[in-house]
């Protein structure tokens, strides 16, 4: 794919922010230890790899060995799951330092984190927990993102969450909240289309209206993943963001809807549980790659027509 046209604003609100989000507008997959050897033996044709930052906060060994080799050949996205940006307790400065070292070592094209909290006091909860959308949370989240961007000296992407409950204390819609965080901090959006789908079903929101209401001009990466299907106490569907199955057809359709509005943007196939053989993820990534190419052609046709 040639001549990517980035719709990402190449600036950010943090004062010392020099880095840009520039993953190629291609498909990538999450890097799993199960696939290390196959990747360095076959060098598959993929746009990028993504890793969870916390998995690589170890001193040495195969994780760093393989990531170093893979980084020499591919763009990289580092995706954090432990910062707890939505947390009421302060960000952990030691964790921020570790993140800064990892980013310095691997010079990723993108760093992203979640609109969620994952720790409380000393305890790490290993889950992405929801926040109420109100002025108080907005201030806290923006302060934390400012702190992260200043510390890492780069713009980050914030991922929209998959949630199972809502809060009486919320005073604004999730899309409005995210738009305001991006406006105030200059961070970009990691548009998780599966999370949009899961949250819309779980909270009876309109899928297309939700996509349209998000700050699409600031999308720096897209995530696609699979969900699990359960039911709530009234028997209505409750979807779980499990990352343990292939991307659902409905999510592929919503992805196409988003691509028509966002244009081609780096897209990750996320899989964290029940890891299949690499070729299965590769095939899913190539499905995304074809849709990205179609979106690119469509956008060019529109430009010529305009």
């Amino acid at each position: 794919m040639t001549a990517p046209i980035s719709t990402v604003p190449q600036c950010c609100g943090a004062p010392a922010c020099a880095q840009e989000t520039n993953l190629p507008p291609r498909a990538g997959v999450g890097l799993k230890p199960e696939h290390f050897r196959q990747i360095v033996e076959t060098w598959p044709d993929l746009g990028f790899f993504e890793v969870h930052a916390e998995n690589y906060m170890v001193d040495g060994g195969p994780f760093h060995h393989y990531l170093t080799r893979i980084r020499e050949r591919y763009p990289l996205s580092i995706h954090g799951v432990g910062l707890s940006i939505g947390g009421e307790t302060p960000l952990d400065p030691a964790h921020l330092d570790k993140l800064a070292s990892l980013i310095e070592r691997y010079a990723p094209q993108s760093f992203s984190e979640h609109l969620a909290w994952a720790s409380h006091g000393e305890v790490f909860l290993n889950d992405l927990l929801p926040v109420p959308y109100n002025a108080q949370t907005l201030q806290r989240v923006c302060d934390h993102i400012d702190q992260v961007q200043a510390h890492l000296k780069r713009r980050m992407l914030l991922e929209n969450p998959a949630t199972y409950v809502e809060f009486a204390a919320s005073s604004m819609a999730e899309t409005e909240f995210i738009g305001e965080v991006l406006r105030r901090t200059g961070c970009g959006l990691l548009l998780d289309v599966n999370n949009v789908y899961v949250s819309c079903i779980n909270h009876n929101r309109d899928l297309h209206a939700t996509i349209r209401a998000l700050p699409l001009r600031a999308v720096g990466e897209i995530h696609l993943a699979g969900f699990a299907r359960e039911h709530d106490a009234d028997g209505d569907p409750l979807l779980i963001d499990s990352h343990g199955s292939p991307v659902a057809q409905a999510v592929w359709r919503l992805y196409e809807y988003a691509l028509d509005r966002v244009g081609p943007v780096a897209t990750l196939i996320e899989r964290d549980n029940d890891i299949p053989p690499f070729d299965v993820l590769f095939a899913e990534a190539w499905h995304a790659e074809h849709l990205l190419r179609a979106a690119d052609r469509k956008m060019r046709a529109q430009e010529i027509g305009a």
């Binding site: 060994g61 994780f63 720790s119 790490f124 109420p132 409950v165 709530d232 009234d234």
Partner: protein, 258 residues
């Protein structure tokens, strides 16, 4: 809602009701939805323990392992955002877990498993070239004062039980029916490059390595090992350490100089 403190407490304690202030679009009981968070947290942490302790799980079966892990998770939730080493105190927990008392070797097998994870992620280091080792060992006067620096991945487990044989039987490299779990075994764990190796040591050799790891000089470690084990073979264990690429540095102790 009384902030994240209330959410947090309800998350860790299944006996508590969900935090106040949760809503659902259809008016359904938020408890069922809140339970998803509780379950995600507990199950993901139990899975993390199962990843680190696969043989421990096989020895007691999945049901007992997960029940034991669930209690461990609520007693000792992670304090670090890096989960690779979550459950380092799990072997000690197992040791004092009454339902596992009929499997007395379980805690030591778990110690071997966490040591393998430690070795897997340990710092990388070059081994000392063989000619440098040979040169240091050839200096008869300096030999007793030599301090041996090990590769950062090196660790040992000394057990009253057959930890290595039990572990090996679950890797498909030994027959479990031939293992006497009550035969004492000792093991050296090392990851010289990409693969973690598990090497059996006899009692004298493990004593010697344990003293070296605690900072003893070669002379005093050998002396202590010989006193405790009549069959201690210094040349044998040095050869094994060299072949295992376990030695990263050798220097003469300054403390023994006048």
């Amino acid at each position: 809602m009384n902030g994240q403190q209330e959410f947090f407490e309800a998350l860790l304690d299944p006996e508590q009701p969900p935090p106040a202030g949760l809503t659902t679009w259809n008016g359904s009981d938020p408890a069922a939805r809140f339970a998803v968070y509780r379950n995600n947290m507990v199950v993901s942490l139990i899975d993390a323990l199962a990843d680190t302790y696969p043989v421990t799980q096989e020895l007691v079966g999945e049901e007992l392992f997960r029940a034991m892990s669930r209690l461990f998770v609520s007693a000792e939730p992670p304090r670090s955002r890096v989960l690779a080493f979550y459950g380092e105190s799990f072997p000690a927990f197992i040791e004092h877990f009454p339902p596992a008392a009929s499997v007395p070797y379980l805690a030591d097998v778990a110690r071997l498993e966490i040591l393998r994870v430690r070795a897997y992620h340990a710092s990388d280091a070059d081994e000392l070239p063989t000619d440098a080792i040979a040169q240091a060992l050839a200096d008869a006067d300096g030999l007793p004062k030599l301090l041996i620096g090990f590769h950062p991945s090196v660790g040992i487990v000394r057990s009253q039980y057959a930890v290595v044989s039990l572990w090996a039987a679950h890797q498909g490299v030994a027959d479990i029916s031939t293992v006497d779990p009550y035969a004492p075994e000792n093991v050296l764990v090392i990851r010289p490059h990409l693969d973690v190796e598990v090497i059996r040591l006899n009692a004298g050799a493990s004593d010697f390595v344990a003293h070296l790891l605690q900072g003893a000089s070669l002379g005093s470690a050998a002396e202590l090992a010989s006193l405790a084990h009549a069959d201690f073979d210094l040349a044998g264990i040095l050869g094994l350490l060299i072949r295992a690429h376990a030695i990263s540095s050798m220097k003469t102790s300054r403390r023994t100089h006048p």
